[in-house]
């Protein structure tokens, strides 16, 4: 089985700090890959590199067999297949919910206004937000904003969805709101890579869990194996600290 997304020996540093160190990862189609690890271990950087928001120092990234780390690829075209949702939502504050969702389908995919609108309304209905279509982002709760941000990415029908700690700016009730959206997407067969601190959630949706430490995947396997029977001492240490902090 060849992977939809494949990273080979990725290296990335910011000035003197090595953030991703010879990291490799395969993401098969229709699976969810969960990245866990301490703050600063490189999860966000990894996702940003996959989305070509950061350039890598070495290694290769393949999407659907095409090397997207090639400087000659059209990054705008690649990003249409890779949608990224951010921890801080990053909705466009000067546009209504529906306008946020319609922007990329119209400008990037060249859809007509009517078509984009119909699709946007349908997505909003599906995720229980249809009443909010003409609201501005600052009138929405954090959970609603994050769901809109996810819908905005979905409107492009991406091949892979990258989610960077989409719940860490939210309180526990809102977290569930957003996580149930992710669960739905998972059952639809969406290919996802997500960084999260929600271990319970990771167990539910992940096909594979990767534990990152200092820019490397130290341990990788099924959620049960990594989260309940870790073989690596560093993974055990991390989980123990999470447990002590009451996050597990």
């Amino acid at each position: 089985m060849s992977a939809l997304l494949e990273l080979r020996n990725i290296r990335k540093s910011f000035s003197t700090e090595l953030v991703l160190d010879n990291l490799s990862l395969e993401v098969p189609e229709h699976t969810a890959t969960v990245l866990i690890g301490a703050s600063g271990s490189g999860k966000s950087t990894l996702l940003r590199c996959i989305n070509l928001l950061e350039s890598i120092d070495d290694g290769e990234i393949y999407l659907d067999g095409q090397e997207i780390s090639d400087p000659l690829v059209n990054v705008d075209e690649v990003r249409r297949k890779l949608a990224m949702v951010f921890q801080s939502f990053n909705l466009f504050p000067h546009m209504s919910v529906l306008e946020n969702i319609m922007l990329a389908p119209i400008k990037v995919q060249g859809k007509s206004k009517e078509e984009a609108r119909a699709q946007g309304i349908e997505l909003l209905q599906r995720f229980g937000l249809s009443e909010k279509f003409d609201q501005y982002p600052d009138r929405l709760s954090g959970g609603q904003q994050q769901r809109v941000a996810i819908i905005r990415s979905l409107a492009l029908n991406p091949r892979v969805l990258l989610l960077d700690e989409v719940t860490s700016a939210l309180d526990p009730v809102l977290v569930n709101e957003v996580l149930s959206v992710v669960r739905d997407l998972k059952s639809d067969g969406m290919t996802m890579v997500l960084a999260t601190h929600e271990m319970g959630f990771a167990t539910q949706v992940a096909d594979q869990v990767c534990f990152l430490q200092a820019g490397n995947i130290v341990e990788r396997g099924s959620p049960d194996a990594v989260l309940h029977n870790p073989s690596h001492p560093q993974t055990r240490e991390f989980l123990k600290r999470l447990h002590e902090a009451g996050r597990l």
Binding site: L82, A83, S88, A104
Partner: protein, 289 residues
């Protein structure tokens, strides 16, 4: 779905009491403010009027009859200032936007233009406006080039536009730079090109943010159009000057000042309000519009 019924509510007796109390407090404050204003202003005015020089001052600066006589001429002049402001303002908007975009672009093909735009802004922001007006107004006709109009109103406007485009470009650029990079990242990750990101995401937010400083510049522009009078344009300032030097009475200047103030004071009030609103928007909640 979270709409709750608000119509059944009627204020409690305690709330009614509080409202009465608030009304009493604000009435008392209004009375204090009124008394204090009357006392202070009355004192200042009576000192001015009873001072020995008042009669001369009044005759030289506030001659009502003479003021009435020159008003039509000065008003005709300020019409020129207004025209310069609006026509110039439109040109400034277009040029400044182009300069700001050039200065913030990363496109390699535009590199030379980026440097030129930077040099332009440095020069015209740093040189006194009056020098530019003299250079363009007197210098350009001296070249005797054909095809360039030697009309002083035109040349004066060009000089003002040259300088103000540099100011306004910097204001717009600061607005562009103030938009958080995460907005750009979000737009780019949706597949928008960098031009589309600027056009649909960054610029609309940036312009909204710089509206108050731009209004300030607009007020300054109106005032600075008075400087083109040195080229002999009969604007409000020049019209006042002609009359004042004829009679050695300075009332025409006061008339011109009052006309400017009638236009600028509402504008500055409005600007202050816009700034205050912007501030309160930013303070409530993390979302900055």
């Amino acid at each position: 779905m979270s709409e709750r019924n608000n119509s059944a509510w009627s204020p409690s007796s305690r709330e009614l009491e509080r409202r009465k109390e608030r009304g009493r407090i604000s009435r008392r404050q209004a009375i204090i403010a009124a008394i204090s204003s009357v006392l202070v202003l009355g004192t200042l005015i009576s000192i001015a009027i009873t001072s020995p020089g008042w009669a001369v001052v009044r005759k030289t600066f506030f001659d009502v009859n003479y003021g009435r006589e020159v008003l039509p001429k000065v008003a005709e002049g300020i019409w020129i200032n207004l025209q310069l402001t609006f026509i110039g303002g439109a040109c400034i908007g277009v040029i400044a936007l182009a300069l700001a975009l050039l200065r913030t672009t990363k496109s390699p093909a535009l590199t030379p233009f980026r440097y030129l735009a930077t040099a332009y802004v440095d020069i015209f922001r740093g040189a006194p406006l009056i020098l530019i007006i003299l250079l363009v107004g007197f210098g350009v006709p001296a070249l005797g080039l054909s095809g360039i109009p030697s009309n002083v109103i035109f040349l004066g406007t060009v000089a003002v536009v040259l300088t103000y485009s540099a100011y306004v470009a910097e204001v717009i650029r600061s607005g562009i730079l103030s938009i958080h990079p995460s907005q750009r990242a979000a737009a780019r990750s949706l597949g928008l090109t960098s031009t589309q990101t600027m056009r649909y995401v960054v610029l609309p937010q940036a312009i909204r943010r710089v509206v108050p400083p731009l209004l300030n510049d607009f007020v300054s522009l109106l005032k600075d159009t008075g400087l083109v009078s040195i080229l002999g344009v009969t604007d409000a300032v020049r019209a006042a000057q002609i009359n004042a030097s004829r009679t050695f009475n300075y009332t025409p200047y006061v008339v011109a000042a009052i006309l400017f103030l009638i236009i600028t004071i509402p504008m500055t009030r409005y600007t202050d309000r816009a700034i205050r609103q912007r501030m309160s928007n930013q303070n409530s909640e993390g979302v900055v519009v």
